[in-house]
Subunit: 303 residues, 2 copies
């Protein structure tokens, strides 16, 4: 437990679930604030239909305006081949795809079966290998599906086994609706790390049921060191009214730093990014730890 690679997905998974739609300039300012805190990986947007997800319109322009030489790994979500081509043409170096652990979510999200979504991912893996583009895939509903109920861990194990050697950079267990509990997380991540090591496996938690931080700890115990979070806890879930979003980046990073796990992230700058996220979206979900962290950091600076 001495290092963690952290991806902030707020500019994508967070903003797409906020009522207020940000301009490309506003989205870029948020991304810059997160990068300035030392976050090495940021999911900046998605190449989806602007009619379906208006908050993600202009992601091509946004990608073109990202700094090219700051050492930050910027990625974008793509739902299909068309999205892949748009992302590639915009200059994206890492594309994020979605695999499905439940038929219900695969149908609802992309109108495909699990097998069809896997074939689409394989096709894009082939193209990406030719184009020199990295592919990361989230496994949606890895713990629970809002349509099909609890997910059989065997389904997730099989998906990981099918894709771990496919040339994919990382497979991310996504607790899409924030339903996982730390016992489940510990059991599944332990099995997967024992079978495949931790270098290619990540975890993505939501804080809907207050277990996001506990789930990060449980996965960390299994050896997982790739985690997603969202600045300011931006997000929400269309299937759970009133639910909070992704686990807040500042909550995760603060816990890791306090446990002596080095993240390379400056908490003070991360809090400023969180404040910006709140100001821009106006919904202020906020990390749970912020109320304490702000005054504490101010006091540290006085000393």
């Amino acid at each position: 437990m001495d290092k963690v690679v952290f991806t902030d997905v707020g500019p994508r998974d967070g903003l797409q679930n906020q009522p207020r739609i940000l301009s490309v300039d506003e989205r870029l300012s948020l991304i810059a604030a997160v990068a300035a805190a030392g976050v090495s990986h940021i999911e900046v947007g998605s190449f989806v239909s602007p009619k379906a997800v208006p908050a993600m319109a202009g992601t091509g322009e946004l990608v073109a305006r990202l700094p090219g030489d700051d050492g930050v790994h910027y990625s974008a979500l793509i739902p299909n081949r068309k999205g892949y081509e748009l992302a590639r043409d915009a200059g994206v170096k890492t594309v994020n795809m979605v695999l499905y652990a439940s038929e219900g979510m695969a149908q609802k999200n992309v109108n495909m079966s699990i097998a069809e979504a896997e074939q689409a991912t394989r096709d894009i893996l082939d193209m990406a290998a030719n184009d020199g583009i990295e592919v990361v895939a989230a496994i949606a509903t890895a713990f629970c599906c809002p349509f099909d109920g609890p997910t059989d861990p065997g389904i997730v194990r099989d998906i990981v086994a099918r894709f771990i050697d496919s040339g994919i950079r990382q497979l991310v267990l996504a607790d899409t609706i924030g339903a996982a509990n730390p016992l489940q997380v510990r059991a599944l991540t332990r099995e997967l790390v024992e079978a495949h090591g931790a270098a290619q496996i990540g975890c993505h938690f939501h804080d809907t049921r207050a277990m996001g931080v506990a789930n990060v700890f449980a996965a960390l115990e299994s050896g997982i060191y790739h985690f997603d979070g969202s600045i300011g806890g931006l997000g929400g879930c269309p299937f759970a009214p009133g639910a909070s979003g992704n686990v807040a980046s500042e909550d995760v990073i603060m816990m890791l730093e306090q446990m002596g796990v080095h993240t390379g992230i400056d908490l003070d700058a991360l809090l400023r990014a969180s404040d910006l996220a709140e100001n821009l979206t106006g919904t202020a979900p906020g990390g749970r730890a912020k109320a304490w962290l702000g005054p504490w950091l101010a006091k540290q600076q006085e000393l």
Copy 2:
């Protein structure tokens, strides 16, 4: 991990930190709502100077008006011998005392040294044995002290070793300012459970730094099964402006129930108690999971 004994400390640790002071009637209504949810242990108040802690004035009257035959274990905090006598005379069957793992907190809280506070507890243990009253002791600043910094786990181990066979019912590791992280919690609780078993050891966490639920999980992994929490997350900390209070009872109980640990507590009734806590205090700290839990429970009832 098949049972948990849960103590709601909201009517004491929660209310004493709220700006609004409740009447004895209001406090009794909150206690009744928590008891109605199936919580078996409730800390109902403290016998301290009403000048020092106005929110706890009238605890003698409150205790006299508690139902005597509902099977719920009601306890009250006492700071010293005078408090003990008031509690005994009011009919309290379990008194909670405080031991200290840091000199700074012992001085600030009761103007005693660690050793003097231990002697006061021993004196009261003798009286309580004669009077047939149970004693529970919290070990304050068991992980960190706002005055002295991080606590040496060896100090806590020694306190536990000195008191485990003293006739005390339970020793509760109290993360007084919500500074513990799950790695620390796991390490200390594992050592203590290995040395003494778990029957007499409890944990009391605050959610100041968003790690309250993760700390419960870490302690549970070590075999701890006595936990404190506060209805609606009532509380706060005088040493951390803006900080949240005790870990919310509904967040803890929801996690436990979702992991298959039986608590005997009705989540629906617990949420109603949480709503009452918010309404009475007007500060609505609220459990993190409430936003999700309410709609979910409503949906379950429709099915």
